[in-house]
């Protein structure tokens, strides 16, 4: 899409330049505006780069929440259960020490092999997961522990039980609780920031995003299925709604981008 837009702008520019400058002042203003737009488009990630982000964000060699826990936290103690129905392995919560200070960490957790992936439900949380997250948030608020939330979720789980247990309401209340916390909350989108399932734990004082993470209102496949009537057009959908970190920063949705090492090294957790 950027390609088309770029071509259109270039064409307009050249047409304007070739006009005899009868009303010069106005035209040069227009020229400047178009040139600026063009510069912006050229600096923006291309459709291919955006799709590469989608693929990298989903890469199975990418570090997951518990990989970060191993490397960032000491004395990690994982909390289990929402104290109502059960424990959701797709969303982990716990207490640990980060640089000498106790924090509460929340994070979506995917699995690497088939067994682990199934156990973690491909990282797709149930309302029970948000229930556990809310319990951890309350704990953090009570004890003045800052909250770090790592986001890596394709989307909240779309299942019958999830609906029966109130998926929509759980996501709404999780955000409401985050907005009320008196302790600092920092979020980093470390992989997929998929829609409502992601924002449920991403309302924060500071929102970071990794260079190759994506943050989306709907999955590219879902968007393509609805607007293009063909889930196979996911690339076009991704190019149109621009889920990459550079665009999220430009749109003011995140505060900063966390650079990643070269792909080759990054994907050995």
């Amino acid at each position: 899409m950027a390609g088309e837009a770029e071509l259109r702008l270039r064409e307009q520019l050249s047409r304007l330049r070739s006009l005899p400058l009868l009303r010069g002042a106005k035209l040069s203003g227009e020229l400047e505006r178009l040139q600026k737009q063009l510069d912006r488009i050229v600096a923006e990630p291309s459709d291919e780069e955006i799709w590469r982000s989608v693929e990298l964000a989903r890469h199975t060699d990418r570090p997951y929440t518990l990989d970060y826990v191993d490397r960032l936290l000491e004395d990690w103690f994982e909390l289990h259960g929402d104290r109502h129905h059960g424990d959701d392995a797709a969303l982990v919560a716990g207490i640990g020490r980060f640089r000498g200070r106790t924090i509460v960490l929340l994070g979506n957790q995917k699995g690497r092999d088939v067994k682990e992936r199934t156990r973690r439900n491909f990282g797709m949380a149930y309302p029970e997961g948000y229930g556990k997250a809310m319990r951890a948030m309350e704990l953090a608020d009570r004890h003045r522990f800052p909250v770090l939330s790592l986001v890596d979720i394709p989307g909240a789980y779309p299942g019958v039980t999830a609906e029966q247990h109130g998926q929509g309401g759980a996501i709404a209340r999780s955000q409401a609780l985050l907005s009320r916390l008196r302790v600092p909350v920092v979020t980093c989108v470390i992989g997929e920031g998929g829609s409502g399932g992601a924002i449920a734990t991403a309302l924060a004082d500071r929102v970071l995003m990794q260079e190759n993470a994506i943050y989306t209102v709907i999955s590219p496949e879902g968007c393509a299925a609805i607007l293009w009537r063909d889930a196979g057009e996911a690339r076009k959908a991704a190019a149109a709604f621009k889920p990459d970190a550079a665009h999220c920063l430009e749109l003011g949705v995140i505060d900063a981008i966390v650079p990643e090492p070269e792909a080759r090294r990054a994907y050995r957790p």
Binding site: A156, E163, G168, Q175, V217, F241, L251, V253
Partner: protein, 281 residues
């Protein structure tokens, strides 16, 4: 710029893939057919079987509020196109078409009103405007409705009918979830009340934000209230769905709504709730 505008892709009443779509005035549940005035007289509820037809925002406001009490606010707000979004058609074209067909500037109408002499603030969604989807302007209007309610010290009544966040504004639409959540929290901080009326359908991003945060949540009979719609759940999980999957009745059974209120009882119910929250003031 002689862009070719393709208008052939989408027709509002085009037949669906699985055969002809019934006339909007034909009851999908019992097959009875009505004239516009017959339906309007019965608040768009099938007199034969009780099926609740959709209600447009303007009509809903007329049904609920005291005569001439509604004063619209922020009617001038219009969405722009922050991403230059283009699927099969440009977003701007879809917006223009929605405005023409609904006569509304966006998918939500807000304003001050009175219901059974009780003053309140209203935020009513319009499904006919791009599926009642929530982009930045809907988020802004809802936030202003919360502020208006707080300033005037009256409850806010929201009536939702929506497919969720608006894809065409991308991640900025997702940001309307926390935005409206925070607006409700601010309203609650000021001692204010949100009464959430969920009409068919209230799904995805709106269900996962302000609509679920009502002090009281009521639903219309048969309304689909689910984070994910039945089709996607079926496709993703291959589970057999219960017959009433995601419907208001199932949500009531599972404890997610306080009451299912048939449309003819909605106005008196809201009047009663407004009196209760006004607490004799």
């Amino acid at each position: 710029m002689s862009e070719r505008i393709d208008v052939s892709i989408e027709h509002k009443h085009a037949p669906s893939d699985d055969g002809a779509r019934p006339h909007p005035n034909t009851c999908p549940s019992c097959g009875s057919h009505y004239r516009d005035d017959e339906l309007a007289e019965h608040l768009n509820v099938c007199p034969h079987c009780g099926h609740h037809f959709p209600v447009h925002a303007r009509e809903r406001i007329l049904q609920l509020t005291d005569e001439d009490s509604f004063v619209e606010e922020a009617a001038e707000l219009r969405s722009d196109d922050p991403l230059g979004f283009f699927d099969l058609r440009p977003y701007t074209e879809r917006l223009a078409e929605a405005e023409l067909s609904t006569g509304l500037g966006e998918a939500m109408v807000i304003g001050r009103a009175a219901i059974e002499d009780e003053p309140c603030q209203l935020a009513v969604m319009e499904f006919g405007f791009m599926g009642g989807s929530m982009g930045r302007v809907v988020g802004e209007k809802f936030a202003r409705a919360c502020e208006g309610a707080a300033e005037r010290g009256v409850p806010l009544v929201s009536v939702t009918t929506t497919g969720g966040a608006r894809m065409q504004e991308g991640i900025l639409s997702l940001m309307q979830l926390p935005r409206t959540v925070c607006a409700v929290e601010d309203l609650h901080d000021s001692g204010g009340t949100l009464i959430s009326v969920m009409a068919h359908p209230t799904t995805a991003g709106v269900l996962a934000s302000f609509a679920s945060l009502g002090d009281v949540i009521v639903a219309e009979p048969g309304a689909l209230l689910s984070f994910t719609g039945p089709r996607v759940v079926q496709q993703t999980t291959r589970e057999k769905l219960p017959e009433d999957f995601g419907l208001a009745e199932a949500n009531y059974r599972h404890g997610h709504v306080d009451s299912i209120v048939p449309r003819p009882e909605l106005r008196p119910t809201l009047g009663r709730l407004l009196r209760l929250f006004a607490n004799g003031r």
